[in-house]
Symmetry: C3
């Protein structure tokens, strides 16, 4: 959705904004560390990961974990360290204990012995659902900037 449509919703308060920052930091570190199962557990059991680079959405923790494991193994085989930077978070309240978050995600890669660089720039649109004082992703849609 466009930023204009997104901001029609009420902005999140400071405590929520902080929790979402904290959640993303931990979530991205788990992914970049190759902790595929713990990464998948940051989604709801029926969580959906959609991307404009993928033919179809990945659904459910097992499939999300499998996709992460496959990517991790490929990066390790290629000797590449990948880091996800999520930032510029616009956090909005939906009905009930739901948040809508529109953010930027930058993927930085470094080959062993080589030069670090930006691999991809993307837009990340999440629906988060409350889990105690933390959050889980119910739906994620990642749109790579290089794809029309």
């Amino acid at each position: 959705m466009s930023q204009s449509a997104h901001i029609a919703r009420a902005a999140a308060d400071s405590e929520t904004y902080f929790q979402v920052q904290r959640f993303y930091a931990r979530q991205m570190q788990l992914l970049d560390d190759g902790a595929a199962e713990e990464w998948a557990d940051t989604f709801t059991a029926d969580g959906v990961f959609a991307a404009n680079a993928a033919p179809a959405p990945v659904k459910g923790r097992e499939n999300i974990a499998a996709a992460a494991r496959s990517t991790t193994e490929r990066l390790q085989a290629d000797g590449i360290v990948r880091r996800h930077w999520l930032g510029m978070l616009d956090v909005r309240r939906e009905a009930g204990d739901l948040l809508s978050v529109r953010s930027y995600a930058l993927i930085v890669e470094t080959p062993k012995g080589g030069q670090a660089g930006v691999r991809m720039s993307t837009l990340c649109e999440d629906v988060l659902v409350r889990e105690g004082d933390d959050w889980l992703v119910r739906e994620r849609k990642v749109s790579r900037d290089d794809l029309g």
Copy 2:
């Protein structure tokens, strides 16, 4: 101003720091989405946008919107997605309801079908003025790192 001069002022509290992060996320997303008028509304009516890359400061919402529209149209014609990342915020209280913010801004660009990359690194120095529980830019000075 130098960081040393900047930090002579009192650091902002957590609620203010959060509000400024939230403000910048929304503001940069509006700019990157090409919402020129909504972007201009994040400045005061007599807001000033100065840059070491520009011959003279841009003054007032109409001129700020026109400049954004012109840049947006050029990027669209060139098939480039631009994203502004603002970070490393040092937020200081000035007299009254004013803030002085010194931050870094990174401009990431991706050509359609091409490789994402850092386009520019800059220093961003803002004076923000309170507007309810949100903020507006009264003065912005952007200094590109590549220019002496």
Copy 3:
């Protein structure tokens, strides 16, 4: 330490998380501005800076200042503006007034008249100790992603 081991500790509350964000923004700006002594003062008197790129840890404020001064002078001689972006902060409480922070640090460089780019991507692991409502680094370990 791995992210999994790190997150076994209790996550920091919002006030602490904000203080750490604020601390890092100021600390990195001091370093990038070449304020070597003020940078060194963001470490404890016996602070330690270790890096997988360095033969041995740098210990104590005087040595930390000297190392920063040396790097600053080299960058100035080469006409390079360096900016440290620290982000994706995972902040954990250790015993007492100690924090363990695992974050990403990106080093962006711009030669005068030239093209900005990512110079290095690193993992930053800090132990912070409370100093009033602010923090000091007692131990820092920086691991460049390009080094095995």
